[in-house]
Amino acid sequence: MIDAFSRHRPLALLATVVLAQVLLLAFQIKRENNVRLIRYWAVELMTPLERAGTWTFSHIGGVWSGYVGLRNTRAENERLRNDVNTLRLRNRELESQSAEAHRLATLLNFREAHLEAPMLAAQVIGASADPTSHTLFINRGERDHVRRNMGVITPDGVVGKIVEVFPSTAQVLLINDKDSGVGALFASSRTHGVVKGSGDPEPHMEYVINEEKLQSGDALVTSGEDRIFPKDLLIGNVDEAKPGNPFQVISVRPAARLDRLEDVIVLLTQQELVPKKSEEASGAGEATPAQTSAQVATPPTTSRSSGVVTDPNKFKPAATPVQAVAPLNKTPGAKSPAPRR
């Protein structure tokens, strides 16, 4: 190196002197924003090196954190997966409990609205094995004073009647079973008929003459003539009405969700259900503000939540009103709403 420098000494000196003068110039010249050229060059020279250094260090860090540091990640991932599965299960439990609480609150509201009528809450525990038979089993039986031909309802409407009673269970014949028949009348016209099951999901209203003017959505309530259900319990609404011979063919959309029953009410009497006035109901049940407002907001002429129609002329199908959750009056044998583990 030194030898080469000595051999080309004049040329090296020339380069040195020129370079020195270039640096001298760079120190004097200013570029945009009053930045000296030498500073500009220094930054331009150093920036790629700094960028390369940053890139190198970040990649080394990335390799460390992405590979070396991940040696415990597999176990952690496994643990987190287990946590997620546990939490999913727990979430499903809570959702189920929430739905159950909602159903029980509905039943409780209904019960509080008819304190004078003896009734019994029951849970559906099974259904018929025969697909053509629309029956189900409840967890109430002879020990709970359940007898044959007692009516079974939900706050939404009529479900069916008790056909068989066992010591701790009972069989309910749904209103859409082909052997079922419920004395009914149109809420608006008070025209009588019988709601009979046909084996289809929807029962039919029979013995209604062709001259009767019907509209889809007309409410059907119990007439009390069958001596099973009290008068004016909502059965359902007219789904479709066609002229027939000699009577109209009227299919009825049940008010109660017969395919999704979980909690029902067994009527221990045929006493007519007259809903209490909202003030009494709220006072008797120590209802929450939400419950009170819901009950006050319910028109006095109709009581959809109680399943009883008091002024059928003004009844129109409506969405289920807000139901507040209230403490449930436990009955003997009733399943506890406490969280299931």
């Binding site: 001298l24 110039l25 050229l37």
Partner: protein
């Protein structure tokens, strides 16, 4: 042009190195700079002649020492910049450093005593000086300085013609061996 190329590496040892009386080089350089500044007061025609460049070329080819040539050129250029106000110091310095180096190197290889060869040398170095100056200004100052124009051609011819006369005068300051 053959007479210009009294050339060849084998002829280099026979090349004569001219010596000057003491203070001649410094005095001539200062006079050239002063005259250049003085003439600048009298209008555009003074810009036709680049006296510092002529002095650089003359002492470069006479001394025939590249190291002294580049230092002399650098010093003259820096002084020339220092006396001006519109160019940063070093702009002429770079150009004249390289010209001084090349003039010394060329002076050691070719005949630089004949007036015609001197005219050619000055003419070429003038344009070479301009090219370096333009490159430097383009790169460092972002100026679009031209490499060649008709005006530069006229300047180079006038400077070369004046340089032939000046070189003959400066020859009288040589120390006789």
């Amino acid at each position: 042009m053959a007479y210009m190329l009294n050339v060849g590496a084998h002829s280099e040892p026979n090349v004569e190195v001219h010596k000057f009386y003491g203070g001649t080089i410094i005095g001539t350089v200062l006079l050239a700079l002063v005259f250049q500044a003085f003439l600048h007061k009298y209008g555009r025609w003074s810009e036709l002649i680049d006296l510092p460049l002529l002095v650089t070329i003359y002492f470069g080819v006479s001394r025939r020492n590249p190291v002294s040539g580049l230092f002399l050129g650098g010093a003259i250029g820096i002084l020339q910049n220092a006396l001006s106000h519109d160019n940063p110091i070093g702009m002429y310095g770079i150009a004249k450093t390289i010209v001084g180096y090349l003039a010394s190197s060329v002076g050691a290889r070719i005949d630089t005593e004949h007036p015609l060869s001197r005219f050619g040398l000055i003419f070429l170095f003038f344009h070479f000086h301009q090219v370096i100056l333009a490159i430097t200004q383009r790169v460092l100052l972002n100026h679009s300085t031209p490499f060649f124009t008709l005006r530069l051609l006229i300047d180079s011819v006038v400077t070369a013609a004046f340089g032939v006369i000046l070189f003959a005068l400066l020859d009288r300051l040589r120390r006789r061996s």
